[in-house]
């Protein structure tokens, strides 16, 4: 094994060697630089491999042939090896990305680069306090110099100013550091970190006080290198102005090294200093994320994000007292995620010609780079399967276990802010107009592309590693190896195939998975399994209508289906949450594919992540420190914890079902999605939320929260959701939005049914689950097909399409009869069960809302069918054809299903009914022949169908007989106030269809919820925008900030210390 | 030599006072060259102080580097930014003045 010391000597030797070369031998110099960096990486990698595979203890490296503390020593252990590898690799890859610049600037720049990387490794390796200072100074000086690399291209003096600001601040920092070191030395008589850590606790009286003060100076100086809020204006200027390849190093490697230095310092200071680290860290995390919100410059935005992540990790280090041995796993996961993602993003930024966030739309033509971007932001947001996810999971659980709820809340809040701007950015990339000047010729930027892809590979490799570690850490199967997820990821590799191949594969996969697992589901889960898997493959039939390759669709869709498939099989909190996140992310990508879906997809992912965080918090609270728990164990929770857990989980799930107040994401997301995506996200995905609620209610049931029966609250929410959802639906002009609002209403019904907490209520909810899947998928497909043909979703612009699109019309007709609950179709069964269910329920008031919601549904449904298919055909649509075959086919299948379910609802419901007896033994239905009897009433679907059919056919025959010579008349052959109209536009009554209703009840549809949320986001945004003005750009002001920071932390921190 | 001799004490008090005086001059001087010279003087006094503090190595270094080289560096730069040396002072903080200096100054 090559001594880790040679990481340093190799870099220095090479740096000095470069001086021997002629100024013109730049290629050679560059080669030497790369070789050296590779050598350094190789040494680190060797050590990492040794430690990881054999688990040997850390190795000490002595210098000067003298033992510490009398000479400087270095140490390399697992963490050091990993960090130096990270640093050296980032250095190597950045050097690749910097090729042009380094070649232009010559050997001096390369030498500085080598020294910078070396110094960072030195910070990690050294165990001597003053040596740490030296390496820090090296880093500072090298960084200040490397900022100038961008001057080579831009030459506008900005980087120069930024470097100067950095030097100003570092002067203060090094003064504090030196004074702190010398007094710490004076107090303990040593400069060795371990020695000092051993000596410090033995100090007594005045010496201890003096040492504490000295340590404070050291600590604050090193923390200041982490760019804590608010003393970080200089860092942002550097991030903005520096060459992105340097920023990658500055963010990933410098941050990592400085954090490790803080970790070493905390070893000396002991637990008493942890709260200070946590405080600084969390404030930085939240504040930097807030300030990032209004950023428009990509590099500055990434800078804020870097600072935030560093703050988070600092806060984690500060929680070492409770994280214990998990600290390495958690902080390491967060740190590596941050480092790789940030480095990758900075390298990517090197490919973008302009600095606005929108300019990144230039990436759009490059699927691989897009995938890299997505992986990076997912990593930063802590989504599975990346290491940050595991880390966040454990962190939140441990925090919750110790009752550090405020910190937990702040972490989640900050993470949500971060996800907000990152995903907004992704939305820009996918949807904003690409600048005319696209990515600088990718071939020329080979280095940056290579570095980005390397980071991408590292990201996924780390996911694998962290998944394996999770196995060791808390006995989990590596989720990345879960079959559904692998299947979804496989589509990334298959994305070059034509649509029909991929679609067939996808359908086959869903069906195969169902075949493999169907024995595992109880009847309740079976319903969901059928909807998710069989239903999913049915919906996918519609995707055959697409041609070409449809890049990105299948990985996203299959990711969502993988999440769904894993969700119903999950038995413990971890699996459940992983599946939840996967389906959220997958569906987000799907929704984002819509033409105008950018803002809606964003609000979808934000609400979903917010909900997911609540679920995470709920799970964490519930486990009380254990890494995960069996979902069934939720039932064992007791007061006072249980209602809180219930509340968090319920709200989390209700964001997915779009309960009122949390619903504003849904209309846009579902309406703007692609034709075949809308049924997936509406018909299938919404059920995931219901499934969550079912799991929750099955286990936790009734909870009392300060005297409020939570179930009752849910009953109200369900009823209100049903009412408002329906009410909003009737005023939509956009057909798909109408359906989307209708979904909100329908989910309200289902929630209401669940919240009834009786046998029939649940049966009704499950019936809604099935019915809603069938008819909403059908309606979305039908309307989507129409919209595809007509090119508009505005209903008033359509009309009279019945003759041109008869099949779509039939599907819609059957659909609306089913939705409205008119006998004889299957919707009626739901209503019937509903009435029977509420007869036994106690809370009666919310039912009034439901009663009102029912007929209102009728209004929007009629509008849907009338304004599209009936009325006057417009001139521009006279040549419209029926929707594509593949869109119509599933609709017809749904029609068949609806008819079958209408006649024999027992087919499915019987089993569910029997199964529900386990939970609600009373009040089940009696299935006798074709009659279904409840405690209160009875119902015979077959008889109804026959009676209605016979009457209908008889009358029809009679009419045919009487009216046998009826002849079709032309479109305008109507009696119209004694005139004959000639323009369909003026004759088609469709716009503002329910005007009287708006006059009477319009006040109920005021967008108060939207107003609320937009005010919230505006407030955050404005807060961020105002607060960032505090970074005036003046280096002197930054110095003020730094000193004020030191003084404030001193007053706060030392005040509370004993 | 267990107690400090009055001579050395007196000397060191004097040194400290001049040190601080020179430092004040260095930051208050209206003319930059004066300020630089005063800063050099501070270093020089400091190096004497180091001698008193029994640190000859440091004294030599401070004298050679702190008061010697650094001061020269300052003058080197100063010679190349003539005209802008008053920038940022309240007296000549006005931007116009700076431009005029640069445009007409040579």
């Amino acid at each position: 094994m090559v001594s880790a010391l040679h990481i340093i000597t190799a870099a220095l030797a090479a740096a000095f060697l470069l001086g021997l070369l002629k100024e013109q031998q730049r290629g050679l110099a560059y080669g030497i630089t790369l070789l050296t960096l590779a050598l350094m990486s190789w040494i680190s990698a060797g050590w990492l491999w040794t430690f990881a595979s054999t688990g040997t203890a850390a190795v000490e490296i002595f210098t000067a042939g003298t033992e510490p503390p009398f000479a400087i020593n270095l140490r390399i252990g697992l963490a050091e090896a990993a960090l130096t590898l990270l640093i050296n690799l980032v250095g190597l890859l950045s050097a690749l990305a910097l090729k042009d610049t380094l070649l232009a600037l010559g050997r001096r720049a390369m030498a500085v680069w080598l020294v910078a990387v070396m110094a960072l490794s030195g910070i990690v390796l050294t165990r001597d306090l003053f040596n740490l200072f030296v390496f820090f100074e090296l880093t500072v000086i090298a960084s200040a110099g490397l900022v100038l690399l961008s001057e080579h291209a831009k030459n506008d003096g900005q980087a120069l100013a930024a470097g100067f600001k950095y030097l100003i601040v570092s002067q203060f920092i090094s003064a504090f550091l030196l004074i702190g070191i010398i007094f710490a030395y004076h107090a303990t008589g040593t400069l060795n970190i371990d020695d000092m850590a051993a000596a410090a606790p033995l100090l007594g009286g005045g010496a201890a006080q003096a040492f504490a003060l000295a340590f404070f100076l050291i600590f604050i100086a090193v923390v200041a290198e982490l760019k804590p809020f608010p003393a970080n204006g200089w860092a942002l200027d550097i991030y903005e102005s520096a060459h992105p390849a340097f920023s990658a190093l500055f963010s990933a490697a410098t941050g990592a090294a400085a954090l490790f230095a803080v970790d070493k310092l905390l070893l000396i200071g002991g637990d008493a200093w942890l709260p200070m680290a946590t405080g600084i860290g969390i404030v930085t995390f939240v504040a930097a994320n807030l300030l990032a919100l209004p950023q428009t410059n990509d590099r500055r935005l990434l800078g804020y994000s870097s600072i935030a992540q560093t703050g988070l990790i600092l806060a984690v280090l500060g929680q070492r007292d409770i994280l214990g041995e998990h600290t390495l796993y958690i902080a390491g996961g967060l740190l590596l995620s941050h480092a790789i993602a940030k480095a990758g993003l900075y390298w990517l930024s090197g490919l973008i010609a302009e600095r606005g966030l929108e300019a990144w739309a230039a990436l759009r033509g490059q699927p691989l780079l897009i995938f890299a971007f997505v992986s990076f932001i997912s990593m930063l947001s802590g989504l599975p399967p990346f290491p940050g996810f595991y880390a966040k999971w454990e962190l939140i659980h441990l925090l919750a276990g110790e009752g550090r709820i405020v910190l937990l809340g702040l972490i989640l809040f900050g993470a949500l802010l971060e996800a907000g701007y990152l995903f907004r950015w992704f939305g820009y990339i996918m949807k904003r107009e690409a600048p005319t000047e696209v990515v600088d010729n990718v071939a020329h930027k080979f280095g940056a592309v290579f570095a980005t892809l390397a980071a991408l590979a590292a990201a996924w490799a780390l996911s694998l590693v962290w998944g394996e570690l999770a196995g060791l850490q808390f006995d989990r199967f590596n989720m990345l190896l879960a079959l559904p997820l692998l299947f979804a990821l496989a589509f990334l590799l298959l994305d070059w195939l034509p649509v029909w191949v991929k679609n067939s594969l996808a359908i086959a996969g869903l069906l195969a998975w169902f075949y493999l697992t169907y024995t595992e589901y109880d009847p309740l889960r079976m319903i969901f399994a059928v909807i998710f898997l069989i239903g999913g493959s049915l919906t996918l039939l519609a995707s055959y209508h697409e041609h070409g390759r449809r890049i990105g669709f299948y990985p996203s869709a299959m990711l969502m289906f993988a999440g769904l498939a894993m969700l119903i099989r999950a038995t413990d909190s971890f699996d459940f949450f992983v599946a939840w996140e996967l389906l959220t992310v997958g569906s987000y990508f799907l929704i984002l594919r819509g033409k105008h879906s950018e803002p809606h997809a964003l609000s979808y992912i934000l609400f979903s992540l917010g909900g997911a965080f609540l679920i995470l918090a709920g799970f964490a609270l519930a486990t009380q420190g254990a890494p995960y728990f069996d979902l069934a164990a939720l039932a064992d929770l007791v007061q006072p914890l249980a209602p809180w857990v219930f509340l968090l989980l319920a709200i989390g799930f209700m964001t997915k079902t779009a309960a009122i107040g949390l619903h504003i994401w849904l209309p846009g997301a579902h309406a703007e999605a692609e034709t075949d995506v809308s049924p997936m996200v509406s018909g299938i995905l919404l059920k995931a939320g219901l499934y969550g609620l079912i799991v929750l209610l099955l286990t936790m049931g009734r909870q009392d929260f300060y005297g409020v029966e939570l179930i009752n609250a849910m009953l109200w929410i369900g009823a209100l959701t049903a009412l408002i959802g329906n009410l909003l639906a009737i005023f939509q002009e956009d057909a798909k939005r109408l359906l989307a609002y209708s979904s909100i209403g329908q989910m309200g019904y289902a929630m209401f049914g669940l919240a009834l907490m009786n046998h029939l209520g649940w049966l009704m909810a499950l019936m809604f689950v099935i019915n809603h899947y069938v008819y909403k998928s059908m309606l979305f497909l039908s309307v989507g097909g129409v919209a595809k043909r007509t090119g508009t979703r505005q209903m008033y612009r359509m009309g009279g399409l019945i003759t041109l699109m008869p099949l779509s019309f039939i599907a819609t007709l059957i659909g609306i009869i089913a939705v409205s609950g008119v006998p004889p179709l299957s919707g009626f069964g739901g209503r019937w069960i509903f009435y029977n269910a509420i007869l036994t329920a106690e809370a009666r008031l919310p039912m009034i809302l439901i009663f009102l919601a029912g007929p209102i549904a009728f209004l929007y449904l009629f509008r849907l069918i009338y304004t599209i298919f009936l009325g006057q055909l417009k001139d521009e649509f006279r040549r419209v054809k029926e929707a594509p075959f593949w869109i119509v086919l599933p609709q017809m299948i749904y029609v068949a299903i609806l008819l079958v379910v209408a006649v024999v609802p027992g087919l499915v419901l019987r089993h569910v009914d029997a199964y529900l007896n386990h939970f609600f033994p009373n009040g089940g239905l009696i299935w006798e022949g074709t009659t279904i009897t409840s405690q209160f009433g009875y119902w015979n679907p077959v008889a109804i169908m026959i009676i209605v059919g016979v009457i209908f056919m008889t009358l029809f025959a009679w009419l045919l007989f009487v009216n046998r010579r009826a002849q079709k008349v032309k479109q305008f052959n109507i009696v119209f106030s004694a005139e004959r109209p000639f323009r369909p536009e003026t004759t088609h009554f469709a716009w503002n269809f329910f005007a009287p209703y708006r006059k009477a009840l319009g006040f109920l549809t005021l967008p108060l919820v939207t107003l609320f949320w937009s005010t919230m986001t505006d407030l955050l945004h404005t807060a961020g925008d105002l607060a960032r003005r505090f970074y005036t750009g003046n280096g002197q002001t930054y110095a003020f900030h730094l000193l004020a920071f030191v003084v404030i932390v001193y007053l706060f921190g030392m005040g509370v210390r004993p | 030599m267990n107690s400090m001799s009055p001579l050395i004490l007196g000397l060191s008090v004097l040194l400290c006072v001049t040190l601080i005086g020179a430092a004040l001059v260095a930051i208050r001087a209206t003319r930059l060259p004066i300020a630089i010279l005063a800063a050099g003087l501070v270093s020089l006094i400091a190096s004497i102080l180091f001698l008193v503090l029994a640190a000859p190595d440091v004294a030599m270094t401070e004298a050679a580097i702190g008061s010697g080289l650094t001061t020269f560096l300052f003058f080197f730069v100063l010679a190349r930014v003539r005209g802008a040396e008053k920038d940022g002072d309240e007296l000549a903080g006005d931007e116009l003045a700076g431009v005029k200096h640069d445009g007409v100054g040579k």
């Binding site: 019945i802 009875y938 009358l955 119209f976 009840l1001 | -």
Partner: protein, 301 residues
């Protein structure tokens, strides 16, 4: 409670009786209204004449399939509604086809005809038809609310959804009627009743006075005849439900005739006395006056 073949002729008999009664009743009420307005009014058999005339008309055109099917839906709705509810309490003959479902079936089947009508009229391409439909749907959606509340109150009161059982519970004297055991529910339901009868003040939906508006605008000849048939059957079917739920049902045809007549008269009476509401006015009116009654009814049960 199950099916046997004899039910079919019996059901047809019910339909026949109700059809004729409905035709006569309609004309009769119209005459009363005319007399109240100091006019002479139509002859009592006028509806028969109209019906025969319309069935006999030659010109017959169609705007399309749904236009054609609209009246069929409509009449199916009317007849189905009638048949899903027992007409005469205690009579096997006139229990109709109520074995197929309970009160809820009847409640929801009301919409079947409405939907069909709306669809048919929609295809006529006549904007006034559509306007009428929007008005009608708007108004009905709210008018139904007090009714639903009242029904729910009644179902809660008797702990059953079976119409027969509800009627059974009201036997044994006038004071056992829901009218007296749950007056709030009945009040709410009667206000809703006004709204669903398409008579003033809630008849803006079909607004016959100024311009022809509403679903039947384009219908004529046999179509119109079917709808006229329905207009005879449907209100009676609806009143049968009211009668059964609130007024003790009917144990014989005379009792049936009287109760239905009185109910019809009630709506006609109100219609004569009050001016017409615009739709938004009637929505507000129902929400302010009828719904609170229904809520009270539910809470007091």
């Amino acid at each position: 409670m199950s099916f046997d073949w004899m039910k079919i002729p019996y059901a047809l008999l019910t339909v026949f009786i109700v059809f004729n009664y409905g035709l006569l009743l309609g004309a009769f009420i119209q005459k009363i209204g005319a007399r109240a307005g100091r006019r002479y009014g139509i002859p009592v058999w006028q509806n028969y004449v109209d019906l025969i005339k319309n069935y006999g008309q030659r010109t017959s055109i169609t705007h399309g399939v749904m236009f054609y099917l609209g009246p069929v839906f409509r009449l199916t709705g009317g007849i189905g509604l009638l048949l899903f509810v027992p007409t005469i309490y205690g009579s096997y003959m006139f229990s109709n086809l109520s074995f197929a479902g309970d009160l809820i079936l009847a409640l929801y089947f009301v919409f079947f005809g409405t939907l069909g009508m709306a669809l048919g009229a929609g295809e006529s391409g006549h904007p006034h038809a559509a306007i009428g439909i929007t008005r009608g749907l708007s108004q009905v959606s709210v008018a139904e609310l007090p009714f639903a509340l009242a029904v729910f109150a009644v179902a809660l009161q008797y702990q059953t959804l079976s119409v027969t059982d509800i009627v059974a519970a009201q036997q044994g004297g006038v004071l056992n009627w829901t009218l007296f055991t749950n007056p709030l529910a009945v009040a709410a339901a009667m206000l809703a009743f006004l709204g669903s009868m398409m008579r003033p003040p809630f008849d803006v939906v079909i607004a016959p006075q100024e311009i022809p508006i509403g679903p039947p605008t384009e219908y004529h000849s046999a179509y119109l005849a079917l709808m006229q048939t329905n207009r005879a059957i449907f209100p009676v079917a609806k009143m049968v439900i009211y009668m059964n739920l609130f007024f003790g049902g009917a144990t014989s045809w005379p009792e049936f005739a009287v109760k239905v007549f009185l109910l019809y008269l009630f709506s006609a009476f109100v219609g004569v006395c009050f001016p017409r509401f615009r739709v938004e006015q009637s929505i507000r009116w129902f929400l302010i006056w009828a719904v609170p009654l229904g809520v009270q009814a539910i809470l007091w049960v």
